[in-house]
């Protein structure tokens, strides 16, 4: 949380991280008043209603799934993994941008992260909630999902710790726990602010209970900052490990199209790529709707555009290495799969993927595009679709074309595949809207540290 708001040395065409003219009080009022108001905006109700409708669809889809079994999805042999695992990987990837913003940019002392880290962290949590659901419902008997955990049982059986699938259980559950802790710790001082501002006894009690008696003591702040920094240091390798381990689900197997050493770094870059796109998809309308232009400035969007471009180029490099290795390795199964991707029945999806993830982002080289919200919003949507297509190309397309022509087969998602996906979008949207309504979406105390008056002028020590 170091303050780096000194005037920039050279001519800087970008707007500042926070618009001038704010005081501690005005920052507090602006952000807290979004939450502490009796009037819920109509737009909020409308947005939440859409999300909640999606959530009902999720309820219906999952109930029917539990009643019938996983065959209502388009899964078959050879394609035992379909939209369920695609969406699992897609959602968990989206979560990565939140941790990147909150932890890695904190360690690199990028003070601009302060205005966007809170809702990016919330986005992480909700994305991980959507992701975590998929492997559980994919088991088909979710009431037995606790069998994934190592615990002494009457069957005298233990999980196979050599399997990437069990690594995944540990990685995703650790990631969910640590993200929740990080988010909650970041919220404590702001919850105290809401407690002290609340005029209704119910709000005062609830925020008071959550703030746990925070009073801003200097000793507490010192321990708090230590804990926050340590959490950032711990989350950084964690976030890199999570998508690495997710990629092991594929890379450790023998499947052509999966068995590639480039997978871990390329999955991590893809996760950050998709995540930043999602942060922009959320931030652009939110900023407009709640009038947060002073806190989320065009500088933020410019930087996010740059990160999207950089990670997108990593992903493009990953595609090239994957293709190169398939041909250079000379393995006939790998080569055959590559030709299948380029010209097989799923080829239109492959070329769409190349357009979405490699070609469209080249526009981000231009500052005029990075300074234009409609362009950024459009590119972010395209990138989100592209990253979803990438997982489609990797997962069912590889499965549909394995070693033996006799076992080749196509994968077609059914209505229930799509309804579950739309349902998780609804879950995500609902949670996000509830978060915006009840918790400060920008970290108030960290924005205070960005103000010039937060700088301590050293006086003569006598």
């Amino acid at each position: 949380m170091a303050v780096q708001n000194q005037s920039l040395p050279r001519h800087d065409p970008l707007p500042p991280v926070i618009e001038p003219g704010h005081s501690f009080g005005s920052v507090t009022d602006k952000i807290a008043s979004i939450v502490q108001t009796r009037k819920t905006p109509l737009g909020w109700i409308f947005g939440f209603a859409i999300g909640f409708t999606g959530l009902q669809l999720l309820g219906i889809s999952v109930t029917y799934l539990f009643y019938k079994g996983t065959y209502i999805w388009g899964l078959n042999i050879p394609c035992g993994w379909g939209l369920d695992i695609i969406n699992f990987v897609w959602w968990i990837g989206i979560g990565h941008a939140g941790t990147l913003i909150s932890a890695i940019l904190l360690l690199f002392r990028q003070s601009w992260r302060t205005s966007i880290n809170r809702f990016a962290e919330a986005m992480t949590l909700f994305a991980v909630a959507c992701a975590g659901m998929y492997p559980v419902i994919h088991t088909g008997r979710p009431w037995l999902a606790y069998w994934l955990l190592p615990y002494p049982n009457t069957m005298q059986m233990w999980p196979n710790f050599r399997s990437p699938l069990i690594w995944d259980v540990f990685a995703v559950s650790t990631y969910a726990t640590v993200s929740l802790l990080f988010w909650f710790v970041g919220l404590i001082p702001d919850l105290a602010t809401l407690r002290d501002r609340a005029d209704h006894p119910v709000g005062k009690t609830i925020y008071g209970l959550l703030a746990m008696g925070w009073r801003g003591s200097a000793d507490h702040w010192h321990r708090y900052e230590t804990a926050y920094l340590l959490l950032a240091g711990l989350s950084t390798p964690l976030v890199l490990s999570v998508h690495t381990i997710v990629s092991f689900d594929f890379a450790v197997s023998q499947m052509p199209g999966w068995h590639a050493t480039v997978f871990p770094p390329y999955f991590v870059a893809g996760a950050v790529f998709a995540g930043f796109a999602m942060v922009m998809i959320i931030a652009i309308p939110l900023r407009k709707f709640y009038g947060l232009e002073d806190f989320v400035t065009m500088r933020h969007f410019d930087y996010m555009g740059r990160i999207t471009l950089a990670t997108g180029l990593f992903v493009g490099y990953g595609y090239m290495v994957e293709t190169f290795m398939a041909f250079y390795g000379g393995n006939q199964y790998e080569t055959s799969l590559m030709w299948y991707r380029f010209g097989g029945p799923y080829a239109p999806l492959y070329w769409m993927l190349i357009f979405c993830n490699i070609i469209s982002i080249q526009l981000l080289w231009f500052q005029r595009i990075r300074q234009s919200l409609p362009w950024l919003f459009g590119i972010s949507i395209i990138v989100s679709i592209g990253m979803w297509l990438e997982r489609f190309i990797i997962i069912p397309v590889s499965l549909s074309h394995d070693f033996l022509p006799s076992s080749w087969g196509m994968y077609y998602p059914t209505f229930w595949d799509w309804s579950t996906f739309v349902g998780t979008l609804g879950l995500f949207t609902s949670l996000l809207f509830l978060f915006i309504r009840f918790l400060p979406m920008i970290s108030i105390f960290e924005v205070r540290t960005l103000l010039p008056e937060a700088q301590v002028e050293e006086r003569a020590h006598g």
Binding site: F24, T28, P150, Q156, M157, W158, P159, F161, R162, W167, F170, A171, T174, T177, V178, L181, F182, F184, V185, P189, A192, T193, R195, D196, R197, L209, M212, G213, W214, R215, G216, S217, A218, D219, H220, W221, H222, R223, Y224, E225, T226, A227, L230, L231, L234, S235, L238, S241, I245, F248, F445, R448, E453, A454, Q455, V456, E457, E458, R459, H461
Partner: protein
């Protein structure tokens, strides 16, 4: 809160004396002066973390990093032991021709457990060392203290300090040019 105020006002059950400041710089200067005046038992309350303040105040050992290190070591050993014990002792099954103690395969879980335990220790340790959750604290008896989470800076010399004396401490705090000084009842 007002009832408690009325009951204890003026009696010796005083938590301390609290001065309110307008800016972070004033508070840091006041904290340095308080330390120089020989007060030990005092605390500052601010709406955001101020590094300079920690340096101006009497130094206290921060045990958190050590605790987190222990948590991480414990988690790592625990994670590896879990994999080793289940795969070698409790349920030894040869998978894919690998040895029972195929330790490279145990590293991901060892790593995740290290991070998990260290993070839990960081959060629970921070909350525990800070004494949270704390349902009651006397500083909240000062109505102005609600601004400590907004835009005001407070310094409270506690009555447990050996140098504390209601009158002389009051006049000392008044010298620091605060916006106001108030008595904090228990």
């Amino acid at each position: 809160m007002s009832a408690a105020h009325a009951k204890t006002a003026g009696d010796p059950l005083v938590h301390g004396l609290m001065a309110e400041f307008h800016s972070a710089s004033e508070l840091v200067a006041a904290a340095s002066a308080t330390t120089r005046a020989g007060y030990v038992q005092y605390d500052c309350y601010t709406p955001f973390p101020i590094e300079e303040l920690h340096e101006a105040m009497p130094h206290k050992r921060n045990w958190l990093p050590l605790l987190v290190l222990m948590g991480g070591i414990f988690g790592g050993l625990g994670g590896f032991s879990l994999c080793y014990w289940t795969s070698v002792i409790a349920y030894p099954i040869i998978v894919a021709g690998k040895p029972l103690n195929s330790w490279p395969a145990f590293i991901p879980i060892t790593f995740e457990c290290t991070i998990l335990l260290a993070s839990l220790t960081a959060v629970i340790g921070m909350l525990g060392l800070n004494g949270f959750p704390m349902p009651y604290h006397p500083v909240f008896n000062v109505p102005r203290f609600a601004f400590a989470s907004r835009d005001r800076f407070f310094l409270c010399i506690e009555s447990t300090d050996p140098k504390f004396d209601l009158e002389s401490t009051w006049s000392f705090l008044s010298q620091l040019q605060p916006m106001q000084v108030s008595q904090v009842d228990r």
